[in-house]
Symmetry: C2
Subunit: 436 residues, 2 copies
Amino acid sequence: MVSKQDKAYYEQLWADLGVDVPLHDQLIRGLAVLERRLHRKQKNRPEKMDYFNKVLNDLHGHRIAEMVEHKKQGGKVVGSYCVFIPEDMVLAADGIHVGLCAGSSFPVQEAEKVLPRNTCPLIKSSFGYKYIKACPYTEASDLIVGETTCDGKTKMFEILEDYHPTYVIEVPQRKNSRNQDVFTAELLDFKLQLENLTGNKITAENLKNATSKVENKFKALQRLFKLRQADPAPISGLDVLTITQIGFQDDVKRFTQQVNALCDELEERVRDGVGVAPKGAPRILISGSPMSLPNWRLHSMLEKAGAVVVCEESCVGTRLFSYTSEPQSDSLEDQIAAIGQRHMSINCACFTPNQGRIDDVLRMAEEYQVDGVIHYTLQFCHTFNNEGTKMEQALDTAGIPLLRVEADYSDDDSGQLKTRVEAFLELLEDKKTNVE
Amino acid sequence: MVSKQDKAYYEQLWADLGVDVPLHDQLIRGLAVLERRLHRKQKNRPEKMDYFNKVLNDLHGHRIAEMVEHKKQGGKVVGSYCVFIPEDMVLAADGIHVGLCAGSSFPVQEAEKVLPRNTCPLIKSSFGYKYIKACPYTEASDLIVGETTCDGKTKMFEILEDYHPTYVIEVPQRKNSRNQDVFTAELLDFKLQLENLTGNKITAENLKNATSKVENKFKALQRLFKLRQADPAPISGLDVLTITQIGFQDDVKRFTQQVNALCDELEERVRDGVGVAPKGAPRILISGSPMSLPNWRLHSMLEKAGAVVVCEESCVGTRLFSYTSEPQSDSLEDQIAAIGQRHMSINCACFTPNQGRIDDVLRMAEEYQVDGVIHYTLQFCHTFNNEGTKMEQALDTAGIPLLRVEADYSDDDSGQLKTRVEAFLELLEDKKTNVE
C-alpha cells in the first residue's frame, strides 16, 4: 500500500507532469480492485512474486519518481507501444524506454470522439490515455515512438502527433533483404533522432552494453517461460503475463534480477513437483494480439476454471524476447544491422506472409505440452484476426484443439466468453479421458 | 439486351471458365434491375453514353468472349483490385489486365465463412466472388495480382492463394526515396513474373507503346473530369462513376476512343450551357474509399435529391488517372522506375503521412466549384476512416462543409443515409442562400 505521505508526493509529481490527477485517481483505484480480485485470489503463488506485486501496487509511483529524477538530471524518456522499438538504442543514448498505457477501457469512450469506433481497443486506449492525460508514463515521455505495424496504429500516430511529440519508425511488410535494409536505415535515422533528443552520442561501446542489458532481460524471460514447460506448471499464466507487462516499464537491470530470482525459486518448485494447478490440469497456449496491462481477463477466466496458461505467443510473450542480436563485428553499423535483424525475426502478423508464426505455435504446443490453443484477437485487429483462419487449418491438421476469441476491453461479453471458455476446457478434458 | 442465342453461347463460355452459372445468373439479373432503376431513370443524359450503357448491359458477355479468344491464342489474363498494379506492364507482355469484381454484397455472406465479418465489404466481396465462383473475370484470370495497400487486403491475399494463383506486389508505406527503390524493385520482380506467365519479354519498345496506350486512357479520363468543372455539369456523377468503373475491364484503346467521343459531345454541352442538373444545383465532391461496380448508391441518392456529383477523389476517380510517367531515358529500367514513380505519386491512404490527399481535396474543391464534400469510407477501412479526422479539420478551416459517411454494401442503412444526405444538401442550400 502507498502511504498518505507518498500519495501526496506522487500526486504532486503527476500534476507536474501534466496528468489529470482526479481522473488518474479513478484509474488507479480501478486497477487496485482488479489486482485484489484477480491476483490475490490465486493460491500457492511463488514467494518471489512479492516484488512484482509491490510494483503492481505502486504502478505509477516509484518508477515515475525515478523517471522524473532522470529528467531532472537532463535525461530523456522515450515511450512506445510495440516490440519493434529497440529499447537498447534508447538506453545507449542514456534515455529511459517505457511501454505506454494501452490495456484498459478507461479512456476508450473519450478516444472515440477522435478515432473511429471500430478501431482496435489497444489503439483507442493508447491514444485515449494521451487525450485525457491519465497515463503518467505517457506524460513523462519526451518523445513517443510509433511504428507502422498495422493500419490502425499507423493512422493513429498521424493524429497523435497533434497532441504529443511523436516519431514513427517504418516497420516493413515483408522480411526479404530489401526490407531488412529499409528497417536498418530506419534504425540509423532513429539513432540520429535519439542523439538529437538526448544530446548523447550512441557509440559502439554504449550500444553494446545496452544491448547486453536488454538481451539479459530477454534471456531471463526465456528462462521463466522454459520453466512453465513443466507439469505441473510452477507459476500461473496470470502472474507471468503480469511480469512480462511490468517488464515494459520497470528498470531493465532490476527487473532482470527479480525475474532470475523468481526463476531460482521456480526451479526448486519444478524439482519438487510443486505447481499452481494440479498435474494434468488443462494446459493452454494463448496466441495472437498483445495483452497490455491490465488486460488480464482471459487468463483469469481460464485459470479460475481450472486450466493453466503455460505460454503466450504474443508481443507480451515469446515475440518480445525470443531473438537476440548477432552482430558480424563490433562496429556500430553492424550492431544496428543486427538489432534490425533481431526485430525482423519476430513473426508478427504485420508481415506477409507470416507462416513462421504458425510454425512457432505448432512447435510451442509440443514444447509446452499444450492441450489446447486459444487464438486471441483484439476486436478489429485485421492482421491477427485473418491469420486465425490459417492457424485454424494448421492446428486442425495437427490435431490440436483451438478456440478463436475476438474481444475488446469491455466486460460486456464476459458471460458469453466464460461459457465458451468452459465448453472448450470440457472438450479438452473429454479428449484427455478418451486418450487415456 | 442479350439475345437468347447469345445467352446460351455466353453460358457455355462461363461454364468452361468454371463459373457457377446459375449463381452468376442471379447476379446478372440483380445488376440489370439496378441499371434500370438507377441509370435509366436519369434525364437528359449525353447520347454518347450509349456505348457505356451497352457495355453495362453486357458486362460479362462480349468482353469475356474477347478474353477467352485471347486465351485461346495463348495470351494470358491478369486480374487485380487496385490502381497500384501497372496495367501497362501487363499489356507490354501481351496480356490483358482486368479489374476484378469487388463492388457488390452478392458474395459477402459466403465470404464471411472464411474472412472475419468485420472486414471491409470490398475485401469480402473480392474474396467472395472467387469463393463462390460467380465472377467470370476472376475465373478468366490466369493470375490475380494483389498488393499490400491495407492490412485487410494483404491478409486476404494470403488466404486467396489457397483458391487461385496469386502474386502480391509490395506497396510501401512511405514515399521516401528508399521506398521508391523498394517499389521499383517490386516492379522489376513483377516484370519477371509476367514474362514467366506469358512467355513474352517486356522490352523498352513494347512497354513504351503500352504505357502510351494506358496513359492515353488516363488523359481521356482527365479530359472527362475537367468537363465536369462546368456549371451546369454536363454529365451526372453516376454516369462518370460507371464509366470509370467500366474502364477497369474494357479494352484500353476502345474505351479511350469512346471516352473521347463522349468528351466531344460534352464540350458542346458546356459551350451551350446544357447540364444534367440545373445551373446552381449543389455540387458535391466525393472523397475516400474506392467504389467498385455496382456501388452506385451514394451517387444515385445525391443526384435523385437534386445535387450533382462533380468529382471523385478516389481510386475509381482522380487517384487512378492523375499521374503519368516521365522516364529519364528510353531504357527499360528508367521506364519501369518512372512507372513506379507514377504510382508512388498517388495520394492513397496506404501512405503515412498522406497530407497530399488533403491538399488534393482542397484544390479540387476549388477547381470543381464544389459546395460540399462527402468523405466516404467503406466500413472497417481503417486507413481512409482515420484520415477523415484530419480531412474534417482541414475542410472546417477552409469553410467547406463536410459529411462523413461510413457504409458497407448492404441497403440496411439506406433510410438513415438518405436522411443524412438530404439534411446535408439542405445545409448547402441554406449556406448558398445566405451568401447570395
